[in-house]
């Protein structure tokens, strides 16, 4: 039996996959932020997998998406760390790239370095760019350093010496000395042997900072789940064994969102859409990513304002979601977010004292969110509170009601349109700004708030198809189970492009051997392991590289990729081979999706009732359907609203939807003209 567990801010989700029976089961319970393990253990007990029952746990594989590392970093609750650098460079973390984060804000500050100045140390030594020692490292100095670091009160240390990726000997000696003194040590030459010292130092410091926290958490969990095999989803969308994850904690820094992307891609691919934009609109923020036949990773990520240079799933986040507050600013523009009502007081319609209208309130006032069926009817909403909040907004904005609509409804339509403008911009960042046309992709919506916005967004972006999976709210946990074992390696070499292929192959060999051995050690049979050796290449003098497969014709491949990505190439210009990269993938058996053969297209059995709903061009009587009662083959025509237990989907006029064999709602987006902007004066 395999279990995927995703710990979110509100819920901890479980997806059980019984390989023998081929069955899939989902479960969720409230998270326990003070100790996330509590909800995990309680949930397992609810599922009959009590830690006291050793036999039940044997043979069980748990894949875990952990926000423990993420939260330790974002909330600055990591370990007390020391930072050790080459003499002259101990302020590396504080100086960063010497730029400021906000151009026009006198009061903005950069994020504080993870190691404060009094715990930043330096050691006399120097290696040059070819890895040759310019200044040797002195043993006596090393002993003094270890004493100082221990005296500083640090429990862990990050070591980043200049050019350690070209010659790690000094860094390793520093590491041994500090480890001997009882510190948990992270070496930059092990975490990220890649040039650009600040980004390498930052990645290493994050590792040192979150590793003790993740280590304690996973240790506690493992101790109570003795018989089970325990794995952690990494930020690159692959899983690794817990004991490995504890050492390389930075690799699980975006574990949860990565699970969402893996799950979304798996579902989209199974539905026949390998090119998909994933759209996860939650209460306070929205995550989007792009899959182009596979999950896309980036090594230019940032978490909490700090660079993370290990490959992470390329996810773009904007601070707008269902709980975003709408208000009129001093210049008379109607703004939505970035402030959010959060869970408390929450939107006005939660009836807990929220006064300002949110996107959720707007949807409620438009009739798009049935007050009596929110979260399966478990949480009735206060429509009059939402109405009042939006009426106040309409007045503040001096909106003239659209024909047939109340001022509150007119304002609500505006709030939804402005929220969509945020979402559209986010989706453009992840597609257009990465060189892709959104029209070539489907849009997969998961997360509670997305279903009401997906079809309108698809229209604006020229996207033809929207997919809403039935697993929507547990997709991240499901993604944990669908994730392969993925390990990536990098090594800066900085060689001229004229380097012989044999030499590159020779340099790649140790990486390949390591990749094979480490993926095999994760329990993957060798025949299921694939290795993808790659090169980062650039024109000499360029500042950024393109990644191409390692082959004798890598130069041609680079010119072609450059022409594709940037529109031109210089076939005669000299090249530089900057980094070797290796991605080692061990494929795991994926859980099958629930499948049923399509039947009768008439969704009458799922029909609930018909209610008035404000659509973009005015009030209409719109049929409501019960999403849980929809069966493969059912067809719906917009306008319609499909109410699932955890999300609601709006089909606009012209949309046509069908339920596929995996119970996904596949929406063919109508090509109708975009509705007029509301509230014309």
């Amino acid at each position: 039996m395999r279990i995927g567990i995703d710990i979110g801010g509100t819920f901890t989700d479980f997806v059980l996959f019984d390989e023998a029976a081929g069955s899939l089961r989902t479960y969720k319970r409230l998270s326990t932020p003070h100790d996330p393990a509590e909800a995990v253990l309680a949930g397992l007990a609810d599922l009959g997998l009590s830690p006291r029952n050793e036999n039940r746990l044997r043979g069980l594989e748990i894949v875990h998406g952990s926000t423990v590392a993420t939260n330790a970093l974002l909330e600055r609750k990591g370990a007390a760390i020391a930072f050790v650098a080459t003499a002259g460079f101990r302020d590396l973390l504080a100086i960063g790239r010497q730029n400021r984060t906000r151009l026009y804000d006198f009061l903005a500050d950069r994020p504080e370095p993870l190691a404060p100045a009094e715990r930043c140390f330096e050691v006399v030594e120097r290696v040059d760019c070819r890895g040759q020692v310019v200044t040797p490292l002195d043993d006596a100095a090393l002993a003094r350093l270890a004493e100082q670091v221990v005296a500083s009160g640090a429990e862990a240390a990050a070591v980043c010496l200049l050019f350690s990726f070209a010659n790690p000997a000094h860094e390793q000696r520093v590491g041994r000395a500090l480890a001997a003194a009882g510190l948990l040590v992270s070496l930059s030459s092990e975490i990220l042997p890649e040039f650009r010292e600040y980004e390498r130092a930052s990645t290493t410091a994050i590792n040192a900072y979150v590793a003790p926290v993740l280590d304690r958490y996973l240790g506690r969990l493992a101790a109570r789940l003795g018989g089970a095999e325990f794995r952690v989803l990494q930020s690159n969308g692959g899983s690794i064994r817990a004991h490995q994850a504890r050492r390389e904690a930075v690799r699980s820094i975006l574990s949860g969102p990565a699970g969402g992307a893996v799950g979304a891609f798996y579902v989209a691919q199974a539905a026949g859409f390998p090119r998909v934009l994933t759209f996860d609109m939650g209460g306070t923020s929205t995550d989007v990513s792009l899959c182009d036949g596979g999950i896309r990773v980036t090594s230019e990520g940032e978490v909490g304002g700090l660079p993370v240079r290990i490959p992470i799933v390329d996810i773009h986040t904007v601070g707008a979601g269902g709980g975003s507050l709408a208000q009129v600013d001093a210049g008379g523009a109607l703004q939505v977010g970035p402030q959010s009502a959060g869970a408390d007081p929450g939107p006005a319609c939660y009836g807990r004292g929220g006064v300002l209208p949110t996107v959720t309130d707007a949807n409620l006032v438009l009739g798009r969110l049935p007050a009596d069926r929110f979260l399966g009817g478990a949480m009735p909403l206060d429509a009059s509170a939402a109405e009042a909040a939006l009426a106040r907004l309409a007045e503040a904005a001096s909106l003239t009601p659209l024909p047939g609509l109340s001022p509150a409804q007119t304002a609500a339509l505006g709030v939804v349109q402005v929220a969509n403008a945020h979402m559209e911009r986010a989706l453009r960042v992840i597609s257009v700004q990465r060189g892709h046309d959104p029209a070539d992709f489907a849009l997969l919506s998961f997360g509670g708030a997305g279903g009401l916005h997906a079809s309108a967004l698809a229209r604006s972006l020229g996207v033809a198809t929207v997919i809403v999976p039935p697993l929507a709210s547990t997709l991240s946990a499901f993604g944990m189970l669908a994730a392969d074992v993925v390990k990536d390696y990098v090594q800066t070499v900085m060689l001229p492009g004229t380097v012989a292929f044999d030499e590159l192959e020779g340099l790649m060999r140790p990486l390949a051997q390591r990749g094979l051995a480490e993926v095999a050690a994760e329990g993957v049979p060798v025949e299921r392991i694939t290795l993808a050796p790659q090169l980062d290449v650039r024109y000499r003098g360029q500042a950024y590289e393109l990644t191409v497969p390692l082959s004798p014709a890598f130069a041609d491949a680079f010119h072609a990729e450059h022409a594709r990505a940037y529109g031109y190439s210089y076939p005669d210009a000299p090249l530089e081979v900057v980094n070797l990269r290796l991605v080692a993938v061990g494929s795991v058996p994926r859980p099958p999706l629930p499948t049923a053969e399509p039947g009768n297209p008439d969704p009458a059995a799922a029909y609930l009732d018909t209610r008035p709903v404000v659509l973009d061009d005015g009030l209409a009587a719109v049929p409501f359907f019960d999403g849980a009662a929809l069966r493969p083959g059912h067809r719906l025509t917009g306008p319609a609203l499909v109410v699932y237990p955890d999300t609601t989907v709006l089909l606009h006029p012209g949309d046509r939807a069908a339920v596929d064999r995996h119970l996904n709602l596949i929406v063919a987006v109508g090509s109708g003209e975009r509705g007029a902007v509301s509230g014309e004066r």
Binding site: R100, L107, R196, S398
Partner: protein
């Protein structure tokens, strides 16, 4: 009052046009200056050349870009497929390395441009007497090739003669070509995106929303000004020298706040100088826009509307409105910072709880050029170095950071040592350099670079004599220091200098600390 919902939606739409131009430029740019240091800006303009939206990168480009567009509009008639180029500081430019490309955007059936998009990028070399084109010069002509507003592309065809002439006058023509191509790609992206908006919303609506966004920014600026106590606020400060003559250079300003409007008058400022500290009017306008823009808050769109209620008087022939043939390289990078300092010094009297003490007030421009024996080819390294931020009311100033008119990134030490025959010995916070006060000024940086080959070194820096001021009783920050260490002996260097250095020499730059705030 414009429509609140449309306004917000179009704010996003126009901003993403400019943003996508910026991404295209950075992705396709060839030189480290563009890709690594991000020394460029992109913007969208209406038919009258008013800047509607800008991708925020470099504040000194802010007020200057609309003047570039206006200069090309005055200089030529357009047909679809044209792209104009310029860098002439006296005709729409600022200093020669900043090359601007302006593309008119036409609707299918119209003979006049509907809008403009423009990109401005700092090119690592545009010729002149020193590699990097930031020399200690006395005439514009020494600083590089001067490009008046001309058509680089005419009706879709590249003007090859112009391009050949241009590339024949720079030191690294391939890299220039790559960066120009990237700017063309950025402009094409902007034009295409704008036409998509027109197709989606109609030309009348797009045009109306451009104006709505300008009046929105204007309204917010008027509101800001109305909230300041009326009065005339004066401030003056000095540049150390002009790099040729030792005499300090005075910048004086008076800001008169009257109701919803302001008049910024630079009367009393030094006449233009022989050295290159002369700023053209565009730079002065950028500094004015920046100073008021910072008081507006981060979420306000930066556009020409912000300047509508503000009148700027910069007497011709002074260092804040130089006339030909004055050299200008330092006006853009150094004088721009001092203009900002005097503007904020004056505004601090009107809004004492919102304006920080003086920041480092310089960009510490360092250029090292010569022959790289390792690779057997010439090299040019250009860098600006951060310093101390002025203390803020209620908060210390940040250490080791770029402030005000620039925000470029550093070159990583490991990237630099691969690329150039240089070794960085030290790159650290210059502790104790920030001015004391209730809130402490940020500390500057110390950067020591050892030359592994003989090279020509040019330093263009400021605040080596006149320290960054403190406010409300705070102490000034420590001035910066430049030095040459040869055979272990340290010799001080002036703030602006060109020297022939030898292998083994160490160039040491210590950047100024920020002023303190309060006692």
């Amino acid at each position: 009052m414009s429509h609140p919902i449309r306004l917000e939606i179009f704010k996003h739409l126009f901003a993403s046009v400019a943003e996508e131009m910026g991404v295209a430029l950075r992705r396709t740019g060839h030189s480290p200056n563009i890709k690594e240091r991000r020394d460029f800006s992109c913007a969208l303009f209406d038919a009258a050349g008013q800047m509607v939206a800008q991708a925020a990168h470099i504040p000194v480009h802010l007020g200057a870009m609309p003047l570039s567009v206006q200069a090309v509009v005055q200089a030529m008639d357009f047909v679809p497929g044209d792209v104009a180029i310029l860098n002439d500081p006296y005709r729409g430019g600022t200093h020669l390395p900043d090359i601007t490309l302006v593309t008119p955007v036409f609707l299918p059936s119209e003979g006049r441009p509907f809008a403009f998009v423009a990109s401005r990028a700092h090119h690592a070399d545009v010729g002149g007497i020193a590699p990097g084109s930031m020399p200690i010069a006395t005439e514009l002509i020494q600083e590089g090739i001067v490009i008046p507003p001309l058509k680089l592309v005419e009706g879709g065809r590249v003007n090859q003669g112009l391009l050949d002439l241009l590339l024949a006058n720079v030191r690294t023509p391939e890299e220039r070509m790559g960066d120009l191509r990237a700017q063309l790609a950025a402009n094409a992206t902007g034009a295409r995106r704008l036409l998509e908006l027109v197709a989606r919303y109609g030309p009348a609506e797009v045009q109306a929303q451009m104006e709505a966004l300008l009046t929105y920014a204007e309204r917010l600026t008027r509101r800001l000004l109305a909230g300041l106590p009326p009065g005339v606020y004066r401030f003056r400060d000095w540049l150390d020298d002009d790099g040729v003559d030792a005499e300090p250079v005075e910048i004086a300003v008076s800001i008169a706040i009257e109701g919803e409007t302001a008049t910024v008058d630079f009367a009393g400022t030094s006449p233009q100088r022989r050295g290159s500290v002369n700023a053209v009017y565009a730079i002065t306008l950028s500094a004015v826009l920046y100073a008021f823009r910072c008081l507006l808050g981060e979420d306000v769109p930066t556009n020409s509307g912000c300047l509508r209620p503000i009148r700027v008087l910069a007497p011709e022939g002074t260092v804040v409105n130089a006339r030909p043939p004055a050299a200008v390289a330092g006006g853009n990078v150094e004088t721009s910072q001092r203009i900002t300092d005097v503007l904020l010094g004056a505004l601090a009297q009107a809004a004492p709880d919102r304006v920080p003490a003086a920041s480092q007030g310089t960009m510490n421009n360092l250029t090292i050029g010569g022959w790289d024996p390792r690779h057997g080819r010439p090299f040019t390294y250009y860098e600006t170095i951060g310093g101390g931020m002025g203390a803020r009311p209620g908060r210390d100033g940040a250490d080791a950071i770029h402030t005000h008119m620039t925000n470029t990134l550093n070159t990583p030490v490991e990237a630099l040592e691969y690329a150039y025959p240089l070794r960085v010995q030290r790159y650290e916070i210059r502790r104790g350099s920030g001015g004391a006060g209730r809130w402490r000024g940020g500390d500057g940086i110390r950067r020591d670079i050892e030359l592994l080959a003989d090279a020509q070194v040019t330093i263009l820096s400021e605040r080596r004599v006149f320290a960054p001021y403190g406010l409300a009783g705070g102490q000034p920050g420590k001035p910066g220091r430049n030095a040459l260490v040869r055979c272990g002996a340290e010799q001080p260097l002036p703030g602006k200098v060109t020297l022939a250095a030898q292998a083994g020499d160490v160039i040491r730059i210590e950047t100024p600390g920020g002023g303190g705030w309060g006692m």
